[in-house]
């Protein structure tokens, strides 16, 4: 085995055998899947059947609510009461206690279209939607009949204009793209965390070798550059291993749970979490639109996203970004005598990372704006920004190639320069390390 191979093997095997690595690698998928399923399970718990009492003094509903034939397990059952009831009655009257929800259908609904309801315990959003939809449908029938027109005619009149104001370069897909970009943001965050965590591990490893003085023995057998690259590659492999195990474990857990516990949990309709997020993100309050948005998220997630491409690109940009930053972190590690001395040197290296991270959130919905376009080319930010653009599908192949090319060139240059500083730094003790000093070392090496 070559010397760099030996270094990689040692670094890799000691790291993956560490308790912290094993715990984190196993725990994260369990937590992720666990929380996901917990949320869904809670959601299912919430779907307990509610009894809805409609106070209908004018008998507008005629004690009838249309229930579709395909609804075997509706979230709510309706009951009618042909007198006035208010929230006080609902609270105090003994015969009201069996009902979960009271809808006060006052006679003025015909003119002001205001309906108020009360619940004891908040029903699931499914149940709420169901109650509203069914009641609205029933009242539509009443209004149509009242005006002497057919239900179809009534609906046609009532239907709102689909009005969309769009930029000239926007097309039909722009909304979907924004949503895809939001999913890309997850990758941005993931890459940011991975780079920070693993590059910092490289730095800590370098400091450990330096302070334990073992480094002098190693560099009497291998070149400092080999030692640095060996460490960087090994830690990167550890990161990829962890990522891979996470993907595999999460898949296994999801499939396993889906097969044995929640049989229909992965059908898009049950993705309550994503649905709720969609509602929150778009601040949409009306039922019809919510349903539309829900369908769009499912469409983005299951149809629009090019997952294989995104994951491949994720790997490329993760590796490129990691190599770029890890060499800088290794350089910092070599220049200090203890981890506490790293602060001052870390700042200029962390700055572009933090900045990019903040920008990656700010450019949501603007994946082909100037900021996004430029920062997806700058090597210090491209690993974080470009994935959003790839997810949104607003990027051309040559842009990706150029960005990867720039990233590669830059990490070769930074690794070379960092290596020069590293060579001097690892054998230098007791020197106050400043950037000025580092540049001197670079010239000296």
């Amino acid at each position: 085995m070559s010397k760099i191979g030996l270094i990689i093997a040692r670094e890799y095997s000691t790291r993956v055998r560490k308790r912290a690595f094993i715990v984190l690698t196993v725990l994260v998928p369990i937590l992720v899947v666990g929380l996901m399923f917990l949320a869904m399970w809670l959601g299912m718990e919430e779907k307990k059947h509610v009894k809805v009492l409609i106070s209908d003094p004018r008998n507008l509903c005629d004690e009838r609510i249309f229930i579709g034939v395909d609804e075997k397990n509706p979230p709510a059952t309706f009951y009618f009461y042909q007198d006035y009831l208010d929230s006080l009655d609902f609270v105090s009257r003994q015969d009201m206690q069996e009902f979960d929800v009271l809808i006060a259908l006052s006679p003025t609904v015909i003119t002001n279209k205001k309906i108020r309801g009360y619940y004891r315990e908040e029903p699931s959003s499914d149940a709420k939607d169901y109650i509203r939809d069914k009641l609205e449908l029933r009242l539509e029938e009443y209004f149509a009949l009242d005006k002497g027109i057919s239900l179809e005619e009534y609906r046609q009149i009532r239907q709102r204009m689909d009005f969309q104001l769009k930029g000239l370069d926007d097309n039909e897909e722009s909304e979907i793209r924004d949503k895809a970009q939001a999913i890309g943001l997850m990758f941005s965050i993931f890459i940011f965390i991975f780079i920070t965590v693993y590059a910092a591990q490289v730095m800590r490893g370098v400091i450990e070798e330096k302070t334990s003085r073992v480094v002098e023995i190693i560099v009497s057998s291998v070149k400092p550059m080999e030692l640095m690259m060996g460490k960087i590659l090994a830690v990167g492999l550890v990161g990829l291993t962890q990522f891979l195990i996470w993907v595999i474990l999460i898949t296994i857990l999801m499939v396993g749970l889906q097969t044995f516990v929640f049989k229909d949990i992965l059908t898009p309709e049950n993705w309550q979490g994503i649905n709720d997020q969609a509602v929150a993100m778009n601040q949409i309050t009306t039922g019809m639109e919510t349903a539309e948005v829900r369908n769009q998220w499912a469409e983005v997630f299951f149809e629009f996203m090019n997952w294989p491409l995104l994951i491949t690109m994720f790997l490329f940009y993760f590796i490129g970004g990691y190599l770029l930053y890890a060499s800088l972190f290794a350089m910092i590690g070599s220049a200090v005598d203890s981890e506490t001395d790293t602060q001052q040197l870390m700042f200029p290296v962390m700055l572009p990372l933090m900045f990019t991270y903040v920008v990656s959130v700010m450019i949501q919905g603007n994946s082909d704006g100037a900021t996004a376009v430029w920062l997806s080319q700058v090597p210090f930010s491209s690993p974080i920004i470009m994935l959003q653009r790839i997810a949104a599908g607003t990027v051309s192949i040559w842009e990706v190639i150029l960005s990867l090319f720039l990233l590669t060139v830059t990490f070769i240059i930074t690794t070379y320069l960092a290596g020069k500083i590293y060579r001097v730094g690892i054998l230098m003790y007791g020197k106050k390390s400043t950037w000025k000093e580092l540049i001197k070392w670079m010239r000296q090496a």
Partner: protein, 311 residues
């Protein structure tokens, strides 16, 4: 046969000279002492030989050929500042370093077993370094240095940190390695060990080579032509017998009628002249030359250098 030839090595660091035109040659199979005060440039020179750093100018030859990268597999280096991976098990660690020095897995395994059995420490195999005492870790470090049977062994302050028993064990190991043909370069402040085991020395002070040669030659270079004479008789009479050609530098009484006098020969006189002078007065029992110790030589060489600079 020469082992290592260092020719006109110059190394500068940011405005200060660490090594100023150093040339040294060591012989195969000898123990060579590299001496000098702290900060003289010894470690810089050792790092250049180990190819950890490069010289600004000058060349190094190993067994007559200019040294090249692959030669580090023939060098064993024990740095002054010892260090091992604290969390790594002893055997794994020895295996790792042996393989970095180019040994195959099976070779490394055999050598590790040989040395651990020799030092009777096979029970340490699965211990982590952080579980070992400092002395124990030092032993492991020494084993790691010699595992790959280097032709040239460079030991920087090998005895520091060892208790007397282990220091003695180490001394024996070094001498045994020498017998087996290993050339050894020893950097140390411990002048007693230099006298005991070094064949040749070089003394570096302020980046310059101050002294170089076999231990015998260096010592005779610093001889003061002083003799210790043990005699029976009166010190008073002995002192009176010396004329201006001799100087009594030291004297002490052994008992009532036995004494030892240290006499320095002056003006080209010989030991014979001295004996002729004192024989009529006292009965001589023993005579030997008082040789300077390495400690004296070290101090005189370093301080003489300082004096020279003041002039």
């Amino acid at each position: 046969m020469e082992m290592l030839r260092i020719e006109h090595i110059v190394k500068q660091y940011q405005g200060h000279t660490a090594l100023n035109d150093i040339s040294i040659t060591t012989k195969k199979g000898e123990i060579f002492g590299l001496l000098g005060p702290n900060g003289a440039g010894k470690t810089s020179l050792i790092r250049i030989i180990n190819q950890i750093t490069g010289p600004d100018s000058g060349k190094i030859y190993l067994e007559g050929r200019e040294i090249k990268r692959s030669d580090i597999e023939h060098i064993g280096y024990l740095p002054e500042e010892r260090g091992l991976y604290k969390k790594m098990k002893v055997r794994e660690q020895a295996m790792y370093f042996a393989r970095l020095k180019g040994l195959t897995k099976s070779d490394a395994k055999k050598k590790i077993e040989y040395w651990f059995e020799k030092f009777d420490i096979t029970t340490w195999y699965d211990k982590k370094v952080e579980e070992l005492s400092k002395g124990m870790a030092q032993k492991i470090q020494f084993i790691i240095t010699v595992l790959h049977e280097p032709k040239l062994l460079i030991l920087d302050e090998p005895f520091s940190g060892f208790d007397p028993i282990n220091a003695d064990l180490l001394r024996k190991e070094i001498l045994q390695l020498k017998e087996q043909g290993t050339s050894i370069m020893l950097s140390t402040h411990n002048m007693t060990s230099v006298e005991e085991i070094c064949d040749s020395i070089a003394l570096i002070d302020k980046a310059k080579l101050v002294l170089n040669g076999s231990l015998k030659d260096v010592k005779s270079q610093f001889r003061t032509h002083t003799y210790a004479i043990q005699f029976k008789g009166m010190m008073f009479g002995f002192a009176n017998a010396l004329w201006a050609d001799f100087a009594l530098t030291n004297s002490f009484q052994l008992d009532d009628d036995h004494a030892v006098a240290h006499v320095k020969l002056l003006k080209g006189n010989t030991l014979n002249n001295l004996l002729q002078q004192v024989m009529p007065v006292v009965e001589i029992e023993a005579v030997h030359e008082v040789m300077p110790t390495m400690n004296d030589i070290f101090i005189r060489a370093v301080q003489g250098e300082k004096g020279g600079q003041h002039e």
